[in-house]
């Protein structure tokens, strides 16, 4: 049984998704999908444990060996990603109950569960597969289901812009997917291979060709669009702001992270035998884009009145940190990126969950509507503040650890102006988080908020699990940093310097 865990990780939610449509009865659907995501979480935890103790796992789908069939290959990097996706997926689903009941039309609720599971399947599949074409298939599954999930924000509380946001995401997301598949096609043309390990072996001999260099360009641009890095981030703010709160909580924590994962895979595994950072200006490009994302993202976040848009722009900045760590090209910085993949998922999801709770009780996520909420919704706002502090990178929160490693990485590369930019971006994040704190704790509401109060435990328990984890991994970062260091060493180990 344990031997088949890799395939179960993906097949379980994939099979469960259509079953939700068959079951239809809401309570049963909810119970069923909770069991499925919970199981997926347990599987990912087991896989992470196995990979961390016994090394990478390779699984051939249908027993077809690698060059002919599809290989699922799990090393420490994607084991971590699987864990993040299924953990967040499980917690967000627990959280979703009351939130979606308010935000999504009643008769579509069972469809929500089905799409949610599909989206999770796609993300898990993208991460677990060792085959670049298979990755594209999962990428499209993710994309299609997330368009529909975002559009569901147009339901109950009347938010017609959700449809527009979803459509915009669809156009840009499809472009990204197309760029990716063009890149894959070009590589297939030159090497005849789709398996990542094979590609890694075959690519160096043909890397001089324009075809492969064009392939690299298409891949990087396509993936950059998916991870919403500057200047290809335009779809993100609207999508996160208009989607149902549950969907934002899930996608903000996972979707862009998976795109970052694909980027890492391409650079360090598929093109792993080629010294990309030496032979191409990719590292400079990544650093420049990352720095722009950090500064522009943080600056834009400062000026947002809609708090979900604010968090979306903050995500832009945070993805900037992660990409910066890749571009700096040393073990400490890369380890910072990987730690931050995990830490940011925790805190951003908690923040969106808190906003979801605010939206439920005040029907608004404008900063003005949060005035005085510190008194009315103490549990929710405290979680928001804790996760917000982590976003800033205050000591004893997980964000501090990420920033510490990243600044250290920048200094190790001798780039102290970059280190300074990281800190400038952190300072900007103080401003936008503090504005919320001031509104919630130091301002009186414009009108009385008799109905605004904390949500029930199904919402605040998952929110606080994530917020508390942000503190926990800031105080005791031994585990996360240890794993990240291992991953970084393995990734860099493949690259001839």
């Amino acid at each position: 049984m344990t031997a088949h865990l890799p395939v179960l990780q993906v097949v379980l939610p994939l099979m469960a998704a259509p079953l939700c449509v068959v079951i239809r009865q809401l309570t049963l659907v909810r119970l069923f999908s909770l069991v499925v995501t919970g199981t997926a979480f347990l599987i990912s935890a087991t896989l992470l444990y196995q990979v961390n103790t016994a090394g990478p796992i390779s699984y051939a789908i249908g027993n077809w060996p690698a060059p002919y069939g599809i290989e699922y290959r799990i090393d420490l990097l994607n084991a971590v990603l699987l864990f993040i996706i299924s953990l967040i997926g499980f917690l967000v689903l627990i959280y979703s109950k009351n939130s979606i009941a308010r935000e999504i039309t009643q008769n579509r609720l069972y469809l929500f569960h089905s799409l949610y599971l599909l989206c999770m399947t796609g993300l898990l599949g993208m991460v677990i597969t060792g085959d670049v074409f298979n990755l594209f298939v999962f990428l499209e599954i993710t994309a299609l289901s997330s368009y529909a999930l975002i559009a569901m924000g147009g339901g109950r509380l009347g938010n017609p812009q959700a449809l527009y946001a979803a459509f915009r995401y669809l156009i840009l997301g499809t472009l990204g997917g197309t760029f990716y598949i063009i890149g894959v096609g070009l590589m297939y043309m030159m090497t005849g291979a789709l398996n990542m390990a094979d590609l890694a072996r075959l690519l160096p001999s043909v890397f001089d060709t324009t075809t492969i260099q064009a392939a690299l360009g298409f891949l990087v641009v396509g993936i950059t669009l998916k991870m919403a890095l500057f200047p290809l981030h335009m779809w993100q703010a609207a999508a996160y702001a208009r989607a149902p709160s549950t969907v934002s909580s899930f996608l903000a924590a996972t979707a862009t992270k998976v795109a970052v994962y694909v980027q890492l895979r391409m650079i360090f595994t598929v093109f792993g035998q080629i010294p990309l950072f030496r032979d191409t200006p990719l590292d400079e490009i990544l650093i420049v884009l990352a720095l722009s994302s950090m500064i522009i993202g943080s600056l834009s976040a400062v000026y947002q009145k809609d708090m979900r848009r604010m968090l979306a722009f903050s995500s832009l900045a945070q993805i900037g940190y992660i990409v910066l760590g890749i571009g700096l090209n040393n073990a400490t910085a890369l380890s910072a990126s990987i730690v931050h993949l995990f830490n940011h998922a925790l805190m951003k999801s908690a923040l969106f969950m808190a906003l979801g709770a605010v939206f439920m009780s005040t029907h608004s996520v404008k900063r003005g509507a949060m005035r005085g909420l510190g008194r009315n919704m103490p549990i929710t706002m405290a979680a928001f503040v804790v996760a917000g502090l982590s976003l800033i990178g205050v000591p004893l929160t997980s964000g501090f650890i990420s920033k510490w490693l990243l600044v250290q990485g920048a200094l190790e590369s001798g780039m102290w102006p970059v280190a300074l930019m990281i800190l400038v971006s952190s300072l900007l994040s103080i401003i936008y988080i503090w504005k919320v704190v001031e509104a919630a704790y130091f301002k009186k509401p414009k009108r009385a908020l008799p109905k605004a109060r904390d949500p029930g435990p199904t919402m605040w328990v998952p929110m606080w699990i994530l917020a508390a984890a942000s503190i926990w991994f800031g105080v005791d970062a031994g585990t996360t940093v240890g794993i990240a260091n291992k991953v970084a060493e393995t990734l860099l180990g493949g690259v001839p310097q």
Binding site: A419, D476, A477, G478
Partner: protein, 510 residues
């Protein structure tokens, strides 16, 4: 109780006290009793630890290991214990004073006030006992955050604006510069644990030392080196007990304490002495001393005048450290102690005047000495200590700093100290003169038309007791400076001028 156990207790006691304060929020008398009991317990633990330190013990306690090789560590050494002693003694007195002040002035949100105070003291203990730069940084930031609600206590627009200045300057400087310097230090030397030789010694030299020094010094915004001083006058919107304990003692002293710590145990005196141009810090300190004094001359608001005086006096500590002579370092440490007692007395007096007579301006203080003789008597002692005349403790620290400046031939420092003494006299003595020698004007005269007859009308008793105590301490420290002086000389490794008999005396006292 072993010294190792005492360390975490010094952190836990105020935090626990804070929790109990919240729990007792509805019963003011119980709540204030808890504050006092906590303050006394904290002092007793610190006092218990002191003789061990005097005997050369350096107890250490690892709180938690954050990353491999990077732990939160508490470690008591002479410098830390001096700061902890000052803060814990003054917390007791200040709590007494707060009770009088907060009740008489009918302040709101008193539970939050006492809670934040307790948490601020916990942060101060963390700073004092930090065994490495990371621990110090974390508690330094914590102190900024927990004192913010105290600064904005009034909740007015002005208070919020001041709060933004406060947070803005302190966080920008610490995250922008101090954190960068710290991570840089870590990546250069692989450790952040304070060592007597200095962490950086042997790892860097030349211009790199200067860059790091600048990042550290301007990263420590709490030391109020110009141009990073503006948060301190802004913070004066807070209730006076906050200005007294936090912005004359705990917060600002945390700043200069960090300066001394960094100069001695991150860089090391030898490294800085060997680096050319490292004396720029001395010039910045001199500039701050003079400029802040000149600004203080023109302040009519009493608390603002005191705030600028604090800015100026803080730079004495920086100056003492920047002279880079062991004896001036002793002066710097002593100044942390004596300025604390002197300045808290002055703030106590300002708060007492406000509470009893509702006056905040210097120009309103004519004849107030006749109405509030205890208060103004204490004020006079504090003022003399600021000027630095015997028999007040302010004389001692100036003496050591001057001695260091002369030994190393830093004539500019000597000149600055002399000018500053005159300036201090120029802005403090007129207040004393007004209070005692001019006749009262305006409607404060409640007794009748004849100016010679005045009913003594002091602030509530707890406040008078508090300010008299600190004034008395300022005098006593002049005659009995042994404990802080011994600790300061132990720190710098200068020849122990004080016999071991004094140490035993100190042990018996505690």
């Amino acid at each position: 109780m072993t010294p190792e156990i005492a360390l975490p207790l010094m952190l836990i006691t105020p935090i626990l006290g804070g929790l109990l304060i919240v729990a007792a929020g509805r019963h003011p008398n119980l709540r204030e009793t808890i504050t006092l009991v906590t303050a006394v317990s904290l002092f007793l633990i610190t006092a218990f630890l002191t003789p061990h330190i005097l005997h050369g013990a350096l107890p250490e306690h690892v709180l938690v290991e954050m990353m491999p090789g990077m732990a939160l560590t508490l470690k008591a050494d002479p410098l830390g214990i001096v700061f902890a002693l000052v803060a814990s003694i003054l917390w007791i007195i200040n709590s007494l004073y707060s009770i009088g002040y907060m009740r008489k002035n009918g302040e709101k949100n008193q539970t939050r006030f006492y809670l934040c105070f307790a948490l601020a003291l916990a942060s101060v203990m963390g700073i004092a006992l930090a065994g490495n730069m990371l621990t110090l940084f974390i508690f330094y930031e914590a102190l900024t955050l927990v004192t913010y609600p105290l600064v904005t206590h009034a909740g007015t627009k002005k208070a919020k604006k001041a709060g933004r200045t406060y947070l803005g300057i302190l966080l920008v400087s610490s995250i922008g510069f101090q954190m960068l310097a710290m991570i840089w230090t870590w990546s250069i030397s692989g450790t952040l644990t304070f060592s007597p030789e200095g962490i950086l010694a042997g790892h860097v030299e030349g211009p790199m030392v200067l860059i790091l020094l600048a990042l550290y010094m301007f990263g420590i915004g709490k030391a109020a080196l110009m141009p990073l001083h503006r948060w301190l006058p802004a913070a004066m919107v807070a209730p006076t007990p906050v200005s007294a304990l936090l912005h004359a003692v705990a917060v600002v002293k945390a700043g200069v304490f960090t300066v001394v710590r960094v100069v001695m145990h991150v860089f090391g005196l030898d490294l800085l002495n060997a680096t050319s141009n490292s004396n720029w810090l001395l010039y910045v300190a001199c500039f701050t001393i003079i400029t802040a004094s000149v600004i203080a001359l023109h302040q009519n608001n009493l608390k603002r005048r005191l705030a600028y005086s604090t800015v100026s006096q803080l730079s004495y500590v920086v100056l003492g450290a920047a002279i880079l002579a062991p004896i001036s370092m002793v002066g710097a440490v002593m100044h942390i102690v004596v300025h604390a007692f002197g300045k808290i007395t002055l703030f106590f007096a300002a708060g007492a005047i406000y509470t009893a007579q509702h006056k905040t301006l210097v120009s309103e203080l004519d004849g107030i000495g006749r109405i509030m003789p205890w208060t103004m008597g204490a004020f006079t002692i504090g003022a003399i200590s600021m000027v630095g005349l015997p028999p007040t403790a302010g004389f001692l620290s100036k003496w050591f700093i001057l001695q260091g400046a002369m030994e190393t031939g830093q004539s500019i420092a000597v000149v600055v100290v002399v000018i500053s003494t005159l300036l201090n006299a120029a802005y403090f003595l007129p207040i004393v003169y007004r209070a005692f020698f001019l006749s009262p004007t305006g409607n404060s005269d409640t007794t009748g038309d004849t100016p010679t007859q005045h009913v003594i009308s002091e602030a509530p008793l707890p406040m008078v007791i508090a300010l008299s105590t600190t004034a008395a301490c300022t005098l006593l420290l002049f005659f009995y400076p042994e404990v802080p002086l011994t600790l300061a000389t132990m720190l710098t490794g200068t020849t122990n001028t004080v016999s071991s008999g004094v140490i035993n005396l100190a042990m018996e006292t505690f």
